[in-house]
């Protein structure tokens, strides 16, 4: 029983003396794997240190950025502080070209901690790792021909399906653009040569009861041909620009006269003959637009 009590008391004493007297309550150096490095690799090293309150780290005691020795550079030093806990990240870079696997050492150093006037030291141990050569001398001696060779090109992914898809969507886009152009009237010459063809097609199914529609269709065709609304008092100007239509001048005069009477005066009764005459006029104009007259 006494022995047990003594043991407990001594353990308590140890732990108390550790936490109260030691200026550094926690210290750890985290390093990566110690092998498999080649010339130019970067090696990170993290130092975590926790101090008692009132004790602070002297950043000037850490190794400075720049060349450490002939083959070692310190690229970056970052210090993160949260309360009494410091996290120091060092990033080294190795510039050493060994001919065979070689063991190297990151040099240790001593950090300074201060408590008022008093200064306390904390050792960071050196760390040893191995560096491999990039080029193998042994192989070089036995190898025939060229020693340094380019990488083989990567294999290509199959793209036939994507190409088919692209071709299909492009042709659909072209078709839609052409149709849109047609709707917006981008092919005036082509349309101008089918004006009376379209008019005839529309006239085909009409009877004398649809005289208004029939006249409107022919007016529309003539307006499109003229580029602006055509009225009987502007026929001279129309003939000057489209002399081939002079052949049907008497029929056109009849048409405008008839349309004026139909649309603008009362008591006009359409007969089947009028519609036939209208179709005849359209036929003649169709022949002219095809160039066969």
């Amino acid at each position: 029983m006494r022995i047990v009590l003594l043991l407990v008391l001594s353990l308590l004493g140890c732990s108390c003396s550790g936490s109260i007297d030691e200026p550094v309550s926690y210290f750890n150096v985290e390093t990566p794997r110690p092998f498999g490095y080649v010339n130019g690799d970067e090696i990170p090293q993290r130092i975590v240190i926790e101090t008692r309150s009132g004790i602070s780290l002297q950043p000037g005691s850490l190794p400075g950025k720049g060349q450490i020795n002939r083959w070692l550079n310190l690229n970056r030093v970052t210090i993160k502080q949260s309360g009494q806990r410091y996290q120091i990240d060092l990033l080294y870079q190795v510039f050493y070209a060994p001919l065979e696997v070689k063991s190297l050492t990151l040099p240790g150093f001593t950090m300074q901690l201060s408590q008022g006037e008093k200064s306390i030291s904390q050792n960071v141990p050196a760390w040893t790792f191995t560096l491999s050569p990039l080029r193998e001398l042994v192989v070089r001696q036995s190898e025939q021909g060229e020693y340094m060779r380019p990488d083989s090109p990567p294999p290509l992914l199959t793209d036939t399906q994507a190409l088919y898809g692209l071709a299909a969507s492009l042709s659909v886009a072209v078709l839609i653009a052409a149709y849109l152009g047609y709707l917006y009237g981008c092919y005036p010459n082509m349309l101008r040569r089918t004006l009376f063809k379209q008019a005839l097609r529309k006239l085909a199914g009409l009877s004398k009861a649809d005289m208004e529609r029939a006249l409107t269709i022919v007016h529309h065709a003539l307006n499109s041909l003229n580029g602006q609304p055509l009225f009987s008092n502007r026929l001279d100007d129309f003939y000057r620009r489209n002399p081939q239509y002079l052949q049907v001048s008497s029929q056109l005069a009849w048409f405008f006269n008839y349309s004026n009477r139909y649309f603008f005066s009362d008591g006009m009764i359409a007969v089947a003959q009028d519609l036939q005459q209208l179709k005849d006029l359209c036929e003649q104009c169709r022949k002219i637009e095809r160039g066969s007259r």
Partner: protein
């Protein structure tokens, strides 16, 4: 039936009258036709043109030919509204007298009132004319005077801009037509005007116009013509499109060079303007031996009836001499009927 014969007789008289004016004032046939139309529609006319092209002669010839009491006044910068209504003077006995001025002198038989150089008169005078033109009455000496037969002819020259007052929009809108008088184009007409002594003495020339004495029956005739001339639904639609095009020409595809079309117009044609256009078109149909109005009637009258009613944004106003005719032409070229 009786009315039809009457209308035919009247048409003959009107055409004869037109012919007579064309013989007195040569080379101005389109302007004469427009004046005849305005006379038979009972609308007021504003003439615009260069100096010495025959504006005044033309109006005097028309007034002489129509008959009716005629008064004329010259626009000057110091003319005041009162000068049109009365004038004061000392009589033989040295007593002050007040007599009616040009507007009231003939009472309700005043027919043609000719306002020369209207843009030299002040806006106060234009304001007085506004009422006389629209309501055909004025208020003076504490009572209203009716002027049922008044027709105002005004002219202004296009050359001078100094010491002139631009007619306000309201005053312009009351004129049925603004007719441009240009120099005759044909060489034979110009030669005739230079060397034929007949055209050297204007007074004698005007005296040669026979007084037809038809004036006081014009109101009744104009009414008959308006009732007789028919307009079809298609024509109504066409006129409506023309009207809308004076407000938003861009919607009808009218495009002028160097112009942002939506910003071009400050105001389009007024309802009064369109009604004047339709009335004049009916009269034109009658003169052309028709009983129905055609789109070509509207087209023939659209420039003279509409150009002075369209108001451009200040940004474009300095180009109005060029833009307005182009705009009117563009509207006529783009609006289809049917």
């Amino acid at each position: 039936m009786n009315t039809d014969i009457q209308l035919t007789d009247w048409r003959e008289q009107a055409l004869q009258f037109e012919q007579q004016i064309n013989q007195t004032v040569i080379g101005l046939q389109p302007a004469v036709r427009h004046i005849i139309l305005s006379v038979f529609t009972r609308g007021h006319v504003l003439l615009e043109g260069n100096v010495g092209v025959g504006k005044t002669t033309l109006l005097r010839a028309v007034a002489q030919g129509l008959g009716g009491d005629y008064q004329r006044i010259e626009g000057t910068i110091d003319l005041m509204p009162a000068d049109l209504i009365y004038y004061t003077y000392l009589n033989d006995q040295g007593r002050p007298c007040v007599d009616p001025g040009p507007l009231l002198k003939h009472g309700d038989t005043l027919a043609t009132f000719f306002f020369n150089e209207i843009n030299r008169a002040r806006p106060q005078v234009h304001a007085l004319l506004l009422r006389a033109m629209t309501e055909r009455s004025i208020n003076a000496f504490n009572r209203d005077y009716a002027l049922p037969h008044i027709q105002v002819f005004a002219d202004r020259n296009r050359v001078e801009k100094e010491e002139t007052f631009e007619l306000p929009a309201a005053a312009k809108d009351r004129f049925m037509m603004e007719i441009n008088i240009d120099m005759p184009g044909s060489d034979t007409v110009l030669d005739e005007l230079m060397f034929n002594p007949r055209f050297h003495d204007t007074d004698q020339l005007i005296r040669g116009v026979a007084n037809s004495g038809i004036y006081y029956r014009l109101n009744e005739l104009a009414q008959t013509v308006q009732q007789r001339s028919q307009t079809s639904p298609k024509l109504h639609a066409y006129a409506l499109s023309l009207w809308k095009a004076t407000h938003r020409p861009q919607q009808y595809g009218v495009q002028l060079s160097d112009v942002e079309m939506p910003q071009l117009l400050m105001a389009g044609a007024s309802p009064r303007g369109m009604s004047y256009l339709i009335r004049a078109a009916k009269t034109r149909a009658w003169l052309e031996h028709r009983d129905h109005v055609l789109p070509e009637d509207l087209q023939a009258l659209f420039p003279v009836c509409m150009t002075h009613r369209l108001f451009l944004n200040p940004m474009y106003a300095y180009r109005k001499e060029q833009l307005l005719p182009e705009l009117v032409e563009g509207i006529l070229n783009q609006v289809a009927a049917p």
